[in-house]
Amino acid sequence: MTTTAEASQQPPSGERKDTQVVAARRSMWKAALRSLYRSKAAFGSAIFLLLMIFIALTAQWIAPHDPQGIDIGNRMLWPVWSASNSNPIYLLGTDALGRDILSRLIFASQMTLVVAISAVIVSGLVGIFMGLISGFFGSWMDAVIMRLADLQLAFPSLLIGLIVMALIGSGVVELIFVIALTQWAYYARIVRSEVIKVRETEYVQASRALGAGNMRLIFKHVLPNALASMLVVASFTLAIAIYYEASLSFFGLGIPPAIPTWGNMIADARNIMLRNWWFAFFPGLAITFTVLAFNLLGDWVRDHFDVKAE
């Protein structure tokens, strides 16, 4: 009697466990969202970044002018609120070739986000892969990978970026590769230490005894546990990527000058601005606020998930 009762109860209780896990996970994200909403700085940053993404996605519809459209008759126009502005269709004025600054800013956000997001994905994937190899296989592979990481962290990353870009030449893919090159080591270290930590725990040894393979271990235990730390690094990588894109482009070693990016716009302005402060002012402001937003979001992720600084 009791056995059949138990047997009949088995499936529902198993099901309930699954729904409990799902519910727990959902409430974790809910709690995160609620805490994000309560943190003024982080919430503001999130809204700002969502707006940025929206602007980048809809650039061709919302930009008032062609970003490459040269209008020689309206060169170096002042921003619209200045008394010196003579043609109010150009809100933030025009550059030395009469191109609309606002439209260039809007289009430049596309390249900025493409570079930043790709750099995070590439560096994250490379770092996770290296960290897993390092943690699982240990011995000489671990030693080689970790020494590589040390070596790369022993130089200012901007210096590495400049040298590699000078050697391989400027370009979008090259830039993404270079930023990833200077950032992968952080992810690798996080994942490696998580693998080593998790490998020795009893629940993982138990699951191994039950026949769970490496893949299950990686996706069920290692990566979920490393997620919070990696999110922190990722948000700072986004900020750094934007910063590097701008710096390298400014020095002529980033995105080719023909493509409008915030860094390129400041570089364009460098020789001719004298009193035309708005050529460089607005792109710099865009960089500052975007980097600030990613930094604030990173701070919030760190505090919320209680990730210890390394």
Binding site: A154, L159, L167, A239, F250, F251, M273
Partner: protein, 312 residues
């Protein structure tokens, strides 16, 4: 002791790796002999140069030759300046120090009091202003801040020179007018970072038992903060401060280029852009050595200042 030796060996490995990278760089960009003679030289001249500079020998021989001279601090002749690399680097490092040392001093001078006040008056308007300013200081690209400052102070107000270093014979006043703007802008990033650091360490320390004890003893609040709390908060601060010198290296590449300051950073930046590999090689090695030295110094300071830490 073992720990220190271990770190030194690791440092040497990094420097050797930097040298190897520098050597490889020479061949990635193409024929190094061509870099000396220029693209217009005839084939015979090029060949003669190749032989005289030893580029006709097997790579492995050249590699060991390169490493041997590098260890003796001989990095050859600059492609661009046609003079020995090492003396130029030494001279330029001194020029950079004229900006970097006062910049780091200024960073400490501002970040320590502001960080402490910000932490003590947590969530007051002073705290908010300080934190917001520090966040902006960390986010604003330094080359842009530099350009905007030149525009405002040199082009618009006309009160400070826009670039370059004053004639060494000129008066202290003229020289410091040239130093002022790049120096302040160079200090902004470490200043912002160190201020945030100082604030968070003081906040941590304030809740420690020894601070509560000091308070319970009936010490004045000033004494509690400035003697008991600050002294302990300074331990992590000083190590991070040493590490920020490393950041200044990268910062001075940018700032010296924007302000046309004839220092090490600008030399490195120009050499990278012109692919003047002997200078880049020597510069890279210098940076690696400085970085390792600073890291080591930071570690040693930490052990020295905090008796609880014992290095294995």
């Amino acid at each position: 002791m073992f720990y220190l030796a271990n770190r030194l060996v690791q440092g040497l490995i990094v420097i050797l790796a930097a040298l190897t990278l520098a050597f490889l760089m020479m061949f990635v960009i193409g024929d190094p002999a061509l870099m000396y003679v220029g693209p217009d030289a005839s084939a015979e001249v090029l060949e003669a140069y190749r032989v005289s500079l030893g580029f006709d020998r097997p790579l492995i021989v050249q590699y060991f030759e390169f490493m041997r001279s590098a260890v003796q601090l001989d990095f050859g002749v600059s492609y661009r300046h046609r003079v020995d690399v090492v003396p130029i680097i030494g001279e330029r490092l001194l020029r950079s120090a004229e900006l970097a040392l006062p910049a780091m001093f200024l960073a400490a001078l501002v970040s320590i009091p502001v960080g402490v006040i910000s932490a003590v008056h947590r969530n007051s308007w002073i705290d908010y202003v300080a934190r917001f300013t520090a966040l902006i200081g960390q986010a604003a690209p330094n080359f842009w801040v530099g350009i905007m400052a030149i525009l405002f102070f040199s082009s618009y107000l006309g009160i400070l020179p826009s670039s370059g270093r004053a004639d060494p014979g000129s008066s202290i006043l003229v020289q410091s007018r040239h130093i002022l703007m790049p120096m302040i802008i160079l200090s902004l990033m470490p200043m912002a970072y160190l201020t945030r650091m100082m604030r968070s360490t003081v906040l941590e320390v304030i809740n420690e038992d020894y601070v509560r004890t000091a308070r319970a003893k009936g010490l004045s609040e000033t004494k509690v903060i400035y003697v008991h709390a600050l002294r302990n908060a300074l331990i992590p601060y000083i190590t991070l401060y040493a590490l920020q010198f490393g950041w200044i290296l990268a910062g001075s590449m940018v700032i010296e280029t924007v302000f046309a300051w004839p220092g090490f950073g600008r030399l490195l930046m120009d050499s990278i852009r012109m692919l003047d590999i002997p200078v880049v090689a020597a510069g890279l090695t210098t940076v690696a050595a400085l970085y390792i030295g600073l890291n080591l110094l930071a570690d040693m300071l930490y052990t020295l200042l905090d008796p609880r830490v014992v290095n294995r």
